[in-house]
Structures are given as C-alpha cells and as structure tokens.
C-alpha cells in the first residue's frame, strides 16, 4: 500500500454520553403510556417482552401524548454529556457525525438539527441514516476523520424517537388494523421493542490522562441488502415493500397512511433468517481470524444472549465461536432497545460500571434487521 502525507493516527474514545428522557416506564405501564390502538390490549405484547427481555424503557412522550423532547434535542444532550465527560466544550468539535433511524424532519439531515440544538458554531457534519447500525457508520466516519488527521476532535452521536411512531393515530384508520380492531403483528411487535434516547462518544488522537479511554482497533460493517427484502422498514406495506415504486412518497402521504405504509414494520419470519445471516458474518469473522472469541473480555450488544434460540447458541458453541454470557454487558433490560443509540448508552454505562480494566478488549456488535446488516467495533481499554 502506498502512503502519502502523514501516517494514520491511533484514535481513542475519550468521552461518553447518554441521555434518556423522562422516568423509566415499566412493562405494566408501557402500553397505556403509548396508547392502546382502538382501546384494545395487544395480542403479541407479552410474547414480545418475554423474547426481548426488556423490563423498562424511556419515552420522550408523556402518557397523554405530549412531546417532551425532539430526537435532535435528545441527541444534542448526549453530545453535551460526552463532551463534558471528555473535558471538552462545544467549540472543540470539528466533525459531528450523527446516526438515527429517522430524524425529526424528513429534510434536511439529522446532524444539522443536532448542531442547531447544540448551538454549536461552524463545523463539519455528516448525517448517517439507517437503523441500529447507523451508529457504527457514524463511528467509522468519525474515527477515520481523526485517524486521517482531518479532525482533532470528532463526535459520533446517535438518537432515536421511536415512540412517536407508536401512537394510536399512526395505525387507526389504516389497513394495519383489521375489522375487529386488531393491529397487525408486523406493526404491533415493534411497539414492545423500541424506545427513546440518545448516546454519543468523543474521539481524539490521544487517550485522556488521567482516566480510562478506549483505543479503537477497527470497525467493520457488512450489509447483505442485495440478498434480502426489507426486514424492518417504514414507507411501504408488507406486501409491496420489495418494490421501490411502492414508496409512500409516490402514493402521496394520505394514500400511503391509509394503506398502512407510514408505520414502522417488521417481518418476523424474515428476521429469523436475517439472524442466521448475522451469525454467518460473525462466524466468518472468527474463521478468518479477525476476531478471537476467547480474547474478548467484554461483549456489548443490544440483543440479549437469551433471545438467541437454542439452535443458534448450540451452533456457536459447537463452532467454538460463543462468547460466554458472563462476558456480555448490557443495559437492555433497564434502558430498552434504543435502536442506533443503544450501543452508546450501553458503552457509557459500561465505562461507569467498574468493569473495564486497562488491556481489556471490548467488542461492540450492532446487528440491524433493516435490510440485513451487522457491524463490529473492536476496542481496547487504555
């Protein structure tokens, strides 16, 4: 490989921030908090909660439906917390990379809204939009900015405001509700899965002193979108989602809403296949020597080990690719699944947990069902 200019630099995460809106909402209250569709109880809710293991979460909506914060507002609060943690201020950011599933506005990008909410001066922005793995897209961008010497301080942030999508008005009067007032499973399941919040990390070319930092070894993302129809999506119906000309914006907002295309949806049969595809990418990383499972001291992932089915755990064990459950660190039961923000919320809690010790290797895994993607980030505690 040829190199021109200065050599690539090592990059460290020096600040960690998280923001969770409002008080925690327990499983007994969450359905009433979001609002019941046509006043009915969910058919799949209990099953969804058993599967994902979530016991409480946070919403940026009050129980009466009032909006307490914006996606950009939450993301900005997480960025401020991360800067604070790093001992830096707003004026120090040179590159701001944001991730989200859906910003507050359709246009322009989320990063601009976050910058505005922060009240930050002129800086370079990048908006990454996907689902959970957008977090690592932004992290990879920020990492490379610092690594290449383009920025001295880069921030990777992620925010989600999923609960707005889960209010009854998003479903009532649409084709997602049947004649008996029951909400379609592909819509209902996610109401019990996703919630709100934001997280951020600060990256610099040197570790902080004193205190623990995380050296970024590498970030790998693999998308398998060429092989799968959308697995989690918004903007088309279940039946038509493979065709891009079925997009909500082609039909127009009113027609699309009536068809049930303006809702977050998940195909759970396809999800089972996508999980196997994630495992396939993981096994390939192990097989090629990119990851040595027995050298990973801490694993952070916003899926719980217990939600993996018996045959998947069996496969991982039989292929010497399982990382034992005692090495998994998670806040999933308390903070819920916050999509792209989950990984930073977990990492922030991990750094405060007393678990990381200098020399430990920390692996972040971010699977995204969207159109089948998985990301990995390898870190070392310094």
């Amino acid at each position: 490989m040829s190199e021109s200019g200065p050599r690539l630099r090592d990059v460290y995460i020096t600040g960690f921030g998280a923001h969770l809106p409002g008080p925690p909402v327990g499983n007994d209250r969450m359905e009433d908090h979001l609002g019941r569709v046509h006043g009915r109880g969910s058919v799949v809710g209990r099953r969804a909660l058993r599967w994902n293991g979530i016991a409480s979460r946070h919403y940026a909506l009050s129980p009466d439906g009032a909006v307490l914060d914006s996606n950009a507002g939450m993301t900005a609060k997480a960025v401020s917390a991360a800067l604070d943690d790093a001992g830096l201020g707003l004026a120090d950011i040179q590159h701001l990379a944001t991730a989200t599933t859906q910003g507050d506005f359709l246009v322009p990008g989320h990063a601009a809204a976050v910058q505005a909410e922060l009240g930050a001066g002129p800086l370079e922005l990048a908006s990454y939009q996907s689902v959970c793995a957008s977090s690592l897209m932004a992290a990879k961008g920020a990492w490379l900015q610092v690594r290449a010497g383009e920025a001295e301080v880069a921030v990777a942030a992620a925010g989600e405001f999923s609960s707005r999508w889960f209010r009854p008005a998003f479903y009532e009067g649409t084709a997602l509700v049947d004649g008996k007032g029951r909400l379609a499973t592909e819509a209902d399941f996610l109401r019990f899965t996703l919630s709100d919040g934001a997280g951020a990390v600060v990256m610099e070319p040197r570790p902080r002193d004193p205190g623990l930092s995380l050296k970024v070894d590498w970030i790998d993302l693999t998308s398998l979108a060429g092989r799968f129809d959308p697995c989690m999506w918004a903007g088309s119906t279940r039946a038509d989602r493979a065709a891009m000309d079925s997009a909500w914006s082609h039909a127009g907002p009113l027609a699309a809403h009536a068809a049930g295309a303006v809702a977050l949806l998940q195909d759970f049969e396809l999800l089972k296949i996508v999980i196997r595809a994630w495992i396939g990418v993981w096994l390939e990383k192990v097989d090629s020597g990119r990851i040595f499972p027995d050298q990973v001291d801490h694993l952070l992932c916003h899926y719980s080990a217990r939600s993996l089915r018996e045959e998947i755990v069996g496969l991982l064990q039989n292929t010497a690719a399982m990382i034992p459950e005692e090495k998994w660190f998670t806040t999933l039961p308390e903070t819920g699944n916050i999509g792209s923000a989950s990984i930073w919320v977990m990492l922030e809690a991990f750094m405060r947990s007393g678990r990381p010790k200098p020399g430990d290797r920390v692996l972040l895994i971010v699977p995204e069902s969207g159109r089948a993607m998985i990301g990995f980030m390898m870190l070392e505690v310094v």
């Binding site: 296949i273 396939g280 390939e284 097989d287 039989n318 010497a320 690719a321």
Partner: protein, 227 residues
Amino acid sequence: MAGEPTTEAAVADVLRKLAVVFADFEQRLEATPLIRKLTRGRFELADYHAFLINLRQQVKDGALWMSRAASNIGEDHLELRSTLMQHAVTEHRDFRLLEQDFVASGGALADILSARKNVGSEALSAWMFHEASKPDPFGLLGAMWIIEGLGSIKARPWGLKVRERLGLPDEALRFLLYHGDNDVAHMEEFRDMLAMVLPDEAVAERIVTTAKVTARLYALQIEEIAA
C-alpha cells in the same frame, strides 16, 4: 506452534466453515425467483408443482449417491459406512412423498414421473455421483451438511408458507412439513460423523470445498425452477 489439533477443535473448525457456507447458501436461495415468489406472496399452485417436480430428482438421487459413497468407504471407517447406509435406508423412499404431495395438491402423477431434470439438477446429480465414486469420499459430509441443513432448517418454514399462501391441506405438504425435525439432534449426529474422519487437514479442506460446490449447484437447481 502446537502439534495436531484435538478432534474437538478440528470438528469445531470445520463446522464453523460449514456454517459460513450454509449462511451464504441460504442467502442465495432467498434471492432465487421461486423463493422470492414465496416470500413476497406471489406463489401459485403451479409454482408449488414445479417445486415438487424439481426436488424429486435430487431427493431420489440422494439415497443413491449416499449408498454409492458408503460402498466406497474403506474398512478403516466402518462406523461411518454404517451411518451412511442407515441414512440411505431412511431416505431412499422419500421421493414417493413428493409424488404423493403432488397428486394430493391436484397434479397428475404422470407429470411428475415423466419430468426431466433441470440444468441445476443435472449438474448437482453428476457432481454427487462423481464424488461418491471416489475411494473414502469423506468430502460428501459437506454435501450432507448442505442438503440435510436445508431439510432441517428451511423445509418446514417453506411448507408453512406454502400452506398459508395456497390453503393446501397437510397431506399435500408432507415432504416439506415432515422434514422440520429436531435440529439439535441433527447437529449432534453430524458432529459425530465429522469426528470419525477428523483431524485431517486434507479431509477438512475437502469437506468444506464439497459443501461449497454442492451449495452452488443446489442453488442453481432452485434458480432454474420456473412454473
């Protein structure tokens, strides 16, 4: 460097490589026109009939190449020979199920009996018999991983989707539904078979290569199905 790996480590290593091959195989299958029709709600009875017709050749040949492979296993591996022979006995009439499903779903028996192999089935069949004709054809364990994996992981979900889409009774779906048996037990049995021939670097490489070729040819067989 350490010396010979343990049997356990060698088995885990091959299984991991096979799982990666299977993941790629499953994704290729998902992208074939026939499976796309099934998952996108466009699957018709004619597609189901074409599916059964085209599977039948491969299922019928399965027990035959397995028998031939067993007959080519030397006396150092009698246990593996026994296992393959048992497998062949268990499966050698399975193609009759496909014929019965075809008739129960409204097809004419003569149509499935007289159908020709598609391009992919021709290639797959030739490849399997070629491999099975070699002495000690242990590479075929890789082919079994692909084909049996399909039976234990994919067949039943496909059967349920066909039932949901076409509203067929279970007696017209027995081949697909009946294959969804215990995956965990399958895995244990397969590990035992690998342990009969590993550790051996050349054998390990052959098993993985045979799995890759079989997966590509199998996917071609499904890709070639058009109602």
